[in-house]
Symmetry: C2
């Protein structure tokens, strides 16, 4: 019987592993085998340079940061299993975690399976992913390749508007590509947007194809009412069409919000099931940064510790 | 007029500085001049090795980690002022921040002034601080010098009991030194405590003096009813008598809880004054780790960003 099983491989999962390992709880971490379609290490492994993780003034690649965290988990005694959890059973205690047909019994579970930024899968996208195409303006918007260049954002919600507004600090111009003729964002945000001289909204528009040499240089856009096509000279394309939290495997056993994120009691990592905790992007659709994920991983570990002490 | 003034010098302050600087908000950070009695860098500068900050498998000293974060803030353009903020005025906008008689006007304030673990100032304490005496069992309890050794915890609240219980994983025995003949902790926690064979409670007791060669070896304790003194052979002494958040300079302008911590809306860093945000230990009496503080510093920065966009 395990004290704690951690599901995930990003900053929140490994911070939870480091803390529970140091607390002698002998954690078992399932890092998954291309779970959610990305390598162990999570979304950070799909970025290049990470400049905003505190403690690395010289910068560090996402992959390198995750390898360091993994090494730290192992150093303190966490056991890491490279297989994907496909089911859990929290209907009675001990809980059960299933991976590759094998059931593991555990007193507590920390879910840190993250989320994946949705992509449109337009033509050329794979060629320019992280070479001009990104799903996080806050992470990547300040990179030198985007400075004083025209950029494009795709989306019509609050995040899209925030990202477009954010990018106007760096860009010479920002195109906001909106599928319909309305925005889902609040009125006040729309007003800001329309007043911003650097932003041009392209209504009824779909992105079709990304073009360029070594990095993104052009984006073909089609008006879905007139079918007119035009080519934007943009050096950056930011998807702001939402994220998909990796919660399908929970199969309704943990309460989710309307977007599929795990509901936690605000300011904690507690889910509706006592003994099951959630941290990182799988329960955060607001901040979504490596450092906030890591912070919540620590919280989950301390809450597991407290829970186990009370249950003893 | 500043966009954002950050008050503090620990992980939360610098993470807020890194994020707001990268968002082109040109933050001004007051790191203080021995503010709260400790050097710039905050409580981490009073620790030695930090093993649980994710990203540093080889460990890093608290001072080194804070120097790296400070360098990162500067790299992205944060301005750092080495003087202590002694007053703020949030009664009207723009807010004012006062340091050494000079007023700075600002649109937003991030308060990240931290907290300080209370100490008893017993004889010999300064000699063995971080050489056997600590104020954080979670941080330091797993260090090799404490393994299989008798340890002591001072305090009678929930934290004291949690820390004593936590230390039984490593220690051969844990003395819990309680000033009165009752604990302030919950009944269920007391029961766990009394059932733990490794814990011995010393009621009506005060620690008097720490003794040793290069590190703590003995602790003199006096029974405050009988005046009987005895010497405990302990290699570790952990204060669990609470923390004092650095909030006195706020002079009642920001809502505090009954222990003096800044109240924030759970799951955010928003205080009761719109445009004033709080992060790190000054608003956290539960988790209090470097990584949770850093995470909340990032949250504050993103909330400042959003607030300024909405106000524009």
């Amino acid at each position: 019987m395990e004290n704690v099983v951690i599901i995930g491989s990003g900053p929140s999962a490994h911070t939870a592993a480091i803390y529970t390992a140091r607390a002698n709880l002998n954690p078992l971490l399932f890092e998954g085998m291309m779970a959610g379609g990305i390598a162990a290490g999570g979304q950070l492994t799909t970025t290049t340079e990470v400049g905003n993780f505190p403690g690395f003034p010289e910068g560090i690649t996402g992959l390198e940061l995750m390898l360091k965290m993994r090494e730290q988990s192992l150093k303190y005694g966490a056991r890491i299993q490279t297989s994907t959890v496909d089911k859990i059973d929290t209907s009675h205690k001990p809980f059960q975690v299933f991976s590759e047909g094998i059931a593991t019994q555990t007193k507590t579970i920390i879910i840190a399976t993250g989320a994946i930024a949705k992509r449109l899968r337009i033509k050329g996208e794979d060629n320019f992913w992280q070479r001009g195409i990104s799903a996080c303006a806050v992470c990547d918007g300040g990179l030198p390749i985007f400075r004083n260049k025209p950029l494009a954002v795709i989306g019509g919600g609050d995040t899209a508007i925030e990202e477009a507004t954010y990018l106007t600090k760096f860009a010479s111009k920002v195109y906001l590509i909106v599928r319909r003729d309305v925005l889902r964002a609040s009125k006040v945000m729309q007003k800001k947007l329309e007043e911003n001289p650097k932003i041009e909204i392209l209504w009824h528009s779909n992105a079709l194809e990304a073009l360029g040499e070594n990095s993104l240089e052009k984006l073909v856009v089609r008006n879905n009412k007139t079918n007119e096509e035009k080519t934007l000279e943009v050096r950056g394309l930011f998807y702001a069409i939402g994220h998909a939290p990796n919660t399908i495997f929970l199969d309704g056993q943990i309460d989710l919000d309307e977007s599929g994120y795990i509901k936690t009691i605000p300011g904690t990592t507690q889910t509706n099931v006592k003994g099951v905790f959630a941290c990182g992007d799988v329960q955060d659709k607001i901040y979504r940064q490596a450092i906030t994920a890591a912070g919540s991983g620590c919280m989950a570990a301390l809450e597991v510790e407290r829970y186990l002490t009370e249950q003893k």
